[in-house]
């Protein structure tokens, strides 16, 4: 088959998947838009998100489409730049969880023995704490900041990835083709990368998408509590938190950050649901 025909087949397959999973497409579109907004934030905004440029708590309209916040900063610019913080912190936190969790899960399953035991016991300990309570404890020890919130969320979600990676690894290493690979002299590293990784990548991809939604929620919650992103940086959770004192004067500043969080998280949940249906037909969601 020529290269073009191969590409055409792939496009056709993708189109078929998209038709069967309209929710996943909606999710992908929402995420695409969010990423676009985050990347082009300076071009989309007319004002600096942290400079006081007008009267505080202006109602929507005129030069400030959704008004100004309690310090006279343009609310729309802050919402747009807040997208960056959400995706940056949520994204990197999930990368930390994925790299740390998946590699220890694969190592535990692959090498077995005491390493498996020790790794999974540590993960059990992290698992036996409610996620947000663990994240709050970690940020209180590390000190409240954007970076520390990211590290804390990464640690909190790592055990999920470890468990998800360990199962398929255990299932694969007993199979004849792994033995065959070993027989022709493949090193452990090569076996893991070439033969184990492809088997764990599908569930890990689904978990990554779902974790992005919870990581973004957790970042917003930590910032809401004053333990995440610090002022004056625009973060949705923090904006919502300060808006509480002024929302009777200007309800918009309390409504919009929550809508932004919900839409972004919904995008990842929709995509995660759709991916699960495609990649793991055994666990169908409704």
């Amino acid at each position: 088959m020529s290269r073009d025909a191969g590409a055409a087949v792939r496009v056709a397959r993708l189109a078929r998947l998209a038709r069967r999973n309209p929710t996943a497409v909606v999710g992908a579109v929402v995420i695409g838009l969010t990423v676009f907004i985050a990347v082009t934030a300076p071009l989309l905004t007319r004002y600096n998100p942290v400079s006081q440029i007008a009267q505080p708590l202006l109602a929507p309209g005129g030069p400030y489409p959704v008004g100004t916040d309690e310090l006279g900063r343009d609310e729309l610019s802050r919402l747009i730049f807040g997208t960056r913080v959400s995706l940056y912190v949520g994204g990197l936190a999930v990368v930390i969880a994925l790299v740390f969790g998946a590699s220890s899960g694969i190592a535990a399953g692959f090498y077995g023995g005491w390493l498996d035991n020790a790794t999974m016991r540590v993960m059990d300990v992290l698992f036996s704490m409610p996620a947000l309570v663990l994240a709050i404890t970690l940020t209180s020890v590390l000190g409240p900041s954007l970076t520390n919130a990211m590290i804390a969320i990464g640690i909190v979600y790592a055990p999920t990835f470890a468990r998800i990676a360990r199962g398929p690894t255990l299932a694969v290493i007993g199979l004849p083709y792994i033995e065959a690979a070993r027989a022709i002299g493949a090193s452990n590293a090569i076996i893991i990368v070439r033969h184990v990784l492809p088997n764990v990548s599908a569930p890990l991809l689904v978990q990554t998408t779902v974790s992005l939604s919870t990581a973004i929620l957790t970042e917003a919650a930590l910032s809401f509590l004053g333990l995440g992103t610090q002022p004056p940086t625009a973060s949705w959770g923090l904006m919502l938190s300060t808006a509480r004192q002024y929302m009777l004067l200007d309800p918009w500043i309390a409504v919009l950050p929550g809508v932004a969080i919900a839409v972004t998280v919904l995008g990842f949940n929709l995509l995660g649901d759709g991916l699960r249906d495609v990649l793991d037909p055994r666990i169908r969601t409704m």
Partner: protein, 305 residues
């Protein structure tokens, strides 16, 4: 489970010892002002000059004997502080779980038996919204709507139910609603898919064929078997619930355990943080154990050695 909780105790103990600066400086609020001899004396009086394993052993010994240490700020025993705040958190959590089960399970059953495509789509959308809308935003919105549209807010100072059930019910209304909405959506989703799976089984057909009434088939034959995944989800949601309690108590000014944990964090009152976090972990573990035990009564085929 005991091993995991022991691990949690080591983790909590270790985390607090990793803190930048020593506890003495935080305690005395005198960073860099104490002389070396005074420092040593203070460290000694708190047992902080002993080797770490000894300190941990002592802490754990006291912990299992119900002594959680003393608050850095108020010098009161942490156990007493927790005992005073626990009823509020228990009330909030139990009411929430009750509302979630009472609303989520019937709606899920309804969504599983309806032939309507619209209801199916609605159930999916509601379920996803419940997962996506942050509960602290729901809480803020409830306050906004109550005060902006209805010019109503419950009394600010928390009133226990045995002092005034009516005032207490008013104060619990918004927090419970904000916590329950998201969780109920998840339960609707789970109930529906679990019921659909069971309703396709042969024994449900048999029950119908032998002429049992629809309601009996649905509740006695289908729901009972569908309950296991639902209970599992409810158990797992306890983790979210306990996290949600922390934020909710903060927003509504309910002086419960979550409120105590956050104030401990803000004031760097580490015995308070250690005690409350440990209690949260124990509760979470206990709920999951209870869920495991419930399986055996729901399905006698499940036995634990």
């Amino acid at each position: 489970m005991a091993a995991a909780l022991l691990g949690v105790s080591i983790l909590i103990f270790g985390l607090v010892r990793l803190l930048p600066g020593t506890i003495v400086d935080i305690l005395a609020g005198t960073e860099g002002r104490l002389g070396p001899e005074q420092r040593a004396a203070v460290l000694h009086s708190f047992g902080l000059d002993r080797p770490l394993p000894v300190q941990y052993g002592l802490w754990l010994w006291n912990l299992v004997h119900g002594n959680l240490g003393w608050s850095f700020r108020t010098q009161q025993p942490v156990g007493e502080l927790i005992a005073a705040r626990l009823p509020i958190t228990i009330e909030l959590a139990v009411l929430t779980i009750a509302v979630v089960a009472a609303v989520g399970i019937p709606l899920g059953i309804l969504a599983s038996v309806t032939p309507s495509v619209r209801v199916k789509a609605l159930a999916q959308i509601v379920g996803l919204l419940g997962l996506s809308v942050p509960n602290f935003w729901t809480a803020v919105m409830l306050i906004l709507v109550a005060s902006y549209a209805f010019h109503w807010l419950p009394a600010l100072i928390f009133t226990p139910p045995w002092v005034s059930p009516w005032t207490n019910a008013q104060q619990m209304l918004l927090p419970v609603t904000s916590l329950a909405l998201g969780l109920a959506a998840v339960v609707v989703r789970m109930t529906r898919s679990s019921m659909l799976e069971v309703l396709g089984q042969e024994y449900v057909k048999v029950a119908r064929a032998k002429g049992l009434r629809g309601g009996t088939v649905l509740l006695r034959h289908a729901l009972r078997n569908a309950l296991i995944p639902i209970i599992t989800v409810l158990g797992l949601q306890t983790g979210f619930l306990l996290g949600g309690v922390v934020i909710t108590e903060q927003i509504f000014g309910l002086p419960g355990l979550g409120w105590m944990l956050l104030n401990g964090v803000y004031q760097r009152d580490y015995p308070v943080v250690q005690g409350t976090v440990m209690l949260f972990a124990v509760t979470f573990a206990a709920v999951n154990l209870a869920v495991d035990l419930l399986y055996t009564s729901l399905d006698p085929r499940i036995r634990y050695e």
